[in-house]
């Protein structure tokens, strides 16, 4: 547990340090199929921190909609989106990054929220001008998703 906290803490420090070179939410370059090739931060994603952001209910809260057999310590996985078991074998890094940043660029009209995007209608005041995840949290989650390989 301490190790996880330490990892999360150090990645938080790194992301602060890397802030200057961070891609802004409106500056993300999407490929034709919605993929995002370049890292948002230039700092390699940390899969351990990524799992925490993936699971965190106030962060990615990804289990609200996706089953993930790597996170069975958490009960009640949602079924709105596809299961993420083996997701690394189905999508490459750029595609996964594009889907987490703004999945609507990959799947038109999807219910999935855009996790690194500003703007929209009637946003609750305290969230105006914010993104659901930070750029580094996106990178961390993408790094984590890449560890989800089929057995």
């Amino acid at each position: 547990m301490q190790r996880i906290l330490l990892a999360a803490l150090s990645s938080a420090l790194i992301s602060t340090a890397a802030f200057a070179s961070e891609v802004a939410p409106d500056g993300v370059a999407f490929g034709e199929d919605g993929q995002v090739t370049a890292s948002l931060t230039g700092v390699a994603g940390d899969p351990v921190a990524g799992k925490l952001a993936f699971v965190g209910r106030k962060l990615g809260n990804c289990l609200a909609c996706h089953i993930n057999d790597d996170a069975t310590a958490e009960s009640f996985h949602g079924e709105v989106g596809p299961p993420l078991n083996g997701v690394a074998g189905r999508w490459d890094t750029a595609q996964l990054r594009g889907i987490v940043v703004n999945s609507k660029m990959t799947f038109e009209d999807t219910i999935m929220p855009a996790f690194y995007h500003e703007g929209g209608e009637r946003i609750l005041e305290k969230f105006v001008g914010t993104t659901i995840l930070t750029a580094q949290q996106v990178e961390d989650i993408v790094a984590y998703l890449q560890t989800l390989k089929e057995e």
């Binding site: 609200a64 709105v80 929220p113 009637r122």
Partner: protein, 281 residues
Amino acid sequence: MKRLIKTLTCTVAALVATTAVYAGEDAVLMINEEITIPTTAPAPEGSPLTELLSGWKFRSGETQALQMDDFDNPSFIFIDKARDQWVKVDGTEGKSCASCHEDVESFKGLRTELPRWNETKGKMYAMENYINDCRTERMGAEAWKWSKGNMTGMTSLISLQSRGLPVAVKTDGPASTAYELGKKLYYTRVGQLDMACSNCHEDNYGVMIRADHLSQGQINGFPTYRLKNAKINSVQARFKGCMKNIRAEPFKEGSEEFTALELYVASRGNGLAVESPAVRN
């Protein structure tokens, strides 16, 4: 013996819940062992749904059972208080509800028609609007807040008179403007999570969103006692909660928008039986 039957009913409901596609799919809503209330209805003409399903069908056997006996349904604590309020003189005119309406049973059927167009006022009226007009204009009493206990108790008592009757709101004529506004709001994506009502309650009902079983978002059970906040919830308070969940700035309770949305969502359930006061999680 009654207790034993109830326990058996719960067990049966729980068994059904584990084997069915969704919780309680085959369960039957029988209240007080005497009133059977249908929890499905054919979809109205033009509905995007294939069949109307009450939110009761999506709940666990345990939650379902709470609605099957008025002694177990916590709403009735508040309904009893509302019965006292019904005959209590309040305001400058020396009147109670009973002064004009006598027995609350005279409101049988009203719940099925609301919200509706109020010709005198020239706007859509929900039950809360009518109650507050009575209080301020006839009784000389203070208006109640839309979702406070005195109001939700009274709306529950009045709605109870229509339990079992099919929802039948009018969407044409003078109500059509509100209907169209409500429909537009239903399909408009809002909030940081950028979701519309339809994303969950039309496109994804029947699946789990984390530990919650997504329903069609039918409002035939409102006012509804929720285990989550241990009180009776108005429809519009529920809308507010949904909007906050998707990080959207909610409309105000009693606003043109929320009453229009209430009308539209009610119309999606035209034909479903009123279950007020329902119990949900």
